[in-house]
Symmetry: D2
Subunit: 349 residues, 4 copies
């Protein structure tokens, strides 16, 4: 009881101190300085050569969820009706510190087993844990980024110069703890029809080569081959075969990738699809179509179109089983201001 | 190009060094010492007073997913058929460093904006980013535990003394980087029928009080009131009203909670449900039914029964709208060896 | 042995992958893009109103250690000769997650006890650890910033707009892993004469009030009172009494502080001192002398003068014992690119 | 101002919540359970085969600083008198994420540049920073362990089974946030005479081989060769030449090391030295003298003798310049409960 009181007092003091400090900081200026909103959408500073303002977006000047607006209740309802067998396929890879990562990114986890020692010295310890039920627990300490493994990117992850989707700038949105807009807490669950475009099968190869540009014709051909047509609100997943290198030859896996070209993605956007993804570590061909414009495909998707993307999907099982149409479900951690979430979507059919 | 070569050489050397080191460590003993499997299921050391072995589990001695075995394809198929309107309700809370947490747990995120500076000095910089498309990106550094916010626990999170579900011990399963069994990578997507037991409405209160024990009779009464019956494979979610304190009075929120009692949970297990959760920071009443046995309900669920649990659900909207039966979908990050995942399940109807 | 080989193979592949990736990235542009040096010292973009270029510094255009250049071998030799009794006083505070911090900064540590479990299942385990000697070990996982507790700042910690000391800009120096210049690895051990200016004693108060500006006259009077004169290379430490609030009233402690005014610091620089510090969380009065120019004193010190500073010193014991002249010793972690080091200097006399 | 008030209110509530929670936890048992001290020194459970109690230590049953007790004021005073030229040699290596590390340990740092964006949108922004002085700052987020690079170990880092120095056990000392005893906050500054034993020069080799056992005779011969004799309180540093591999051949560096044998260390302890270290990643030969007892030398030093050790020293310059006697100074971060500190000691002569 004594400790409890001490702890509470200490913490209240600490907190008051922080409050006083903020007051002091505020007092240095004429008005409260923190939390003021900046809005750079009214100017066009810093556009790249040849670039014109791409905002406001198709979904409105204040929109934060871009293409996910296409998933209406009717789209979701119809997608759920696709489930005939109740089979579930996991589309996410296991993430640990050894999985291939974009250079510079990391992910470390360490178990915290200290409660197994702390609980032993409680006066009400049961001998091997807390209480007569000897309860103990284990947690973990994790450090790294969410931009690893199978991931759902926020459309705020990429910029053109200092500009985001809908014309916001870094000055407007960057806060130490997270993005003021486009954080993962704004991204709703994604539950819609999924379509697997098995371009590898259509091209009759195990794996498309690095830098291969998936064209509009490839998409048309694959859809025809699969007997499907795209609809507004679809989740369009590409099986390129490139994901087969994951774990088997990480060197090769990270050295490049095939992917939809810029015109293909523009066409997908015109079809009003909700989200697209692939079995590759980025999205779009690497090396890209234009050697002077690196990663132009995801940049266009996120910044210009507000089209959501998924990376490092495990599409192998769907491809092997010939499942091209399914219910796509994706729920994710709602961490405030994050640029991505580590995910594992599921396909149901 | 020169740098690339240097980097590669440096890293290969580092890696070889590690390999040689492991070889050296191995050479100190008669045989390869690392990675040897320990299996303590054959003994019964350290059981609490009055405790008898609870293993092997109902799902087999090598089972890792406990009650989630109840979700058969038929269960999933039938659940998907419940979606009549395509409406989606998010059941997860937003997580940041200020959300209420169990004492000692933390969660910090800092945006990494350094690419906005690094890309400017590339020889192929477009002036405000890399390339003529001036691409830039932002990631985040996150540090903390997954045992925060709306979370799906691994059944490996809790122990009785040194024992886990199915009789494994810490000696068997604790590795620095994660649990050797029961890590989140073993937990499949959870897609099944959801049932909301709005006990608060049944008892005609806004919020059940801290320490309130939800009894078998409360569950029967609520089900009758809602016109439902439980089935094998269900996700059974309790609306106690306690979650209304989140964000409004975190002090009160963390000071205790109502929850299903031990007999209720045992009965749920007997109904072969797949998972259960509530709008509270733990699961089960706090203070508990037996003052000498803290957190006995989740301990029994995870360690003895292998019954999965969810914490900090946002059940308010379902309760308000009177939605008691729905498709429950939960996909989560497959991080290897983790004791939990931060999640945001969805309800569809 | 088998595992060792597997591990080595896996890691080599991972590394090769990274190398190939860098090659691929490089191939996207005409020349190797990474690691190119940027140098903005030749322009004067972005200076604040009324500001003129302050570079090159007194110590040269390529200098990285500013005022620490003043510590010559002769200065160090003479300072060592001051030690008559061999008494050592620790000038650093204990750091943990509860110590007062600048808003938004954090520091968390968790013990890693997992080896106590891992070592038990080695085939050559001694029963309670590895080998017949039963060796076990414990480490820690730490997350946070070095800008906490008793700290030695790098002069790269603060900027004026985008400019650093000697005219470098963020574009020149910001790399994801650390500053390309001015990181803590460039800061030498600091071993010189220490002078404690006990201004509180001189002013006959226990503690100078928040916002109190220590003037040139205060310094003169205190030096006279202590019978000392400053010399080139000195470490000049201020005892304001404000540090007495640490731990006792953290609220008050963080709400402001007394400190040397701008003219005082300019005069200290003119005396060619090597470093200065105080028993306060920043350095210089808060609120400051000019309400429109927050933290102008440390900004001027680091950015314009290259004068090193120390924060949160524990000067109480020296003040109490009337020790005003001593050997000052400070060695610190050489972490590459860091903006500060958590330290605990010592005074010897 | 409004925000400030909101922040303060929110945080007070959060804190009160934590207090209430602790109260609730306490209320579950008959008495306050947290913080109770455990003391296992009175029993001898778990000793290894052939092991007898090694406690109380030479420095008393409650001692925490072991051999550092040998550094008396007179020792320090005499050591300071050794400085004739004022020359300073840095004995620490630069630490970053690529430096060689014991398997499983990591160290990541990311610059936090977000204030450069946040300060721009204050109402009192100067255009490129906060205020008319346009102040900005940069910090870092660091994650990893202190058991890396040039390090000073706490004697609490290693155990024999569950036992520490002076007979304490993990049950007594392990707390989630740090060791209850032997944390780095208990370790005083180390300022004493340093002696470099250049065994490589004595043996007339550039580098002693891995596994080489430095014997008592080697030490005698080297001392005679250098014209020195050990004294109580000395810091005894070994130059084996092994450190020359650091950065040049990390693979070889980590694959083993030469070092003082068990009898040598026991003899050093008998001479009442204060601390010892080497230019190797651990201390003592690897592979060791007894293949069944890994890392027996540091285990004996820390657990049985309370003799402090230093790793990864850069002794090259002292060896090259033939400096064998000097003032050794080491100040370090006082982080509570840590098992080590990343350091960079200095030699003065």
């Amino acid at each position: 009881m004594k400790l409890t009181k001490h702890l509470r007092t200490r913490m209240v003091l600490l907190v008051l101190g922080t409050g006083l400090f903020y007051t002091a900081l505020a007092a240095m200026s004429g008005e409260a300085p923190v939390g003021v909103v900046s809005d750079s959408r009214g100017n066009t500073a810093g556009l790249a050569e040849g670039e014109t303002p791409w905002w406001p977006s198709r979904y409105g000047a204040d929109d934060q969820i871009g293409s996910l607006n296409e998933i209406t209740p009717e789209v979701t309802r119809a997608a759920c009706a696709l489930v005939r067998h109740g089979r579930v396929v996991d589309l996410g890879r296991i993430l640990d510190e050894d999985t291939p990562k974009f250079p510079g990114r990391y992910w470390h986890q360490t178990l915290d087993v200290t409660p197994h020692y702390e609980n032993l010295r409680r006066t009400d310890s049961g001998g091997q844990g807390w209480g007569k039920n000897q309860i103990n627990w284990i947690t973990e300490i994790q450090a790294g980024t969410f931009q690893v493994g199978t991931q759902l990117d926020s459309i705020g992850h990429i910029q053109s110069g200092e500009r985001f989707y809908n014309g916001w700038t870094t000055r407007d949105l960057v806060q130490s703890n997270g993005l003021a807009r486009f954080g993962m807490e704004t991204v709703p669950p994604v539950i819609t029809r999924g379509v697997l475009l098995d371009v590898a099968a259509y091209k009759n190869v195990a794996r498309l080569p690095a830098g291969y540009v998936i064209t509009r014709e490839d998409v048309d051909g694959t859809l025809k081959h699969e007997g499907l047509a795209l609809r507004a609100g679809d989740a369009v997943l590409f099986h390129t075969g490139w994901g087969g290198l994951w774990g088997d030859d990480n060197a090769q896996f990270l050295s490049g990738e095939p992917g939809p070209g810029l015109a293909t993605v523009q066409w997908l956007y015109d079809q009003h699809i909700a989200i697209t993804g692939a079995d590759t570590w980025s999205y779009g061909p690497v090396p890209g179509e234009d050697p002077e414009r690196p990663f132009l495909v995801p940049q266009t998707m996120y910044v210009k179109l507000g089209l959501f993307g998924l990376e490092n999907l495990t599409t192998e099982q769907l491809a092997r089983d010939g499942v091209h149409e399914f219910l796509f479900v994706l729920t994710h951690a709602r961490t405030r201001g994050s640029t991505a979430a580590v995910v594992a979507p599921a396909a149901l059919y």
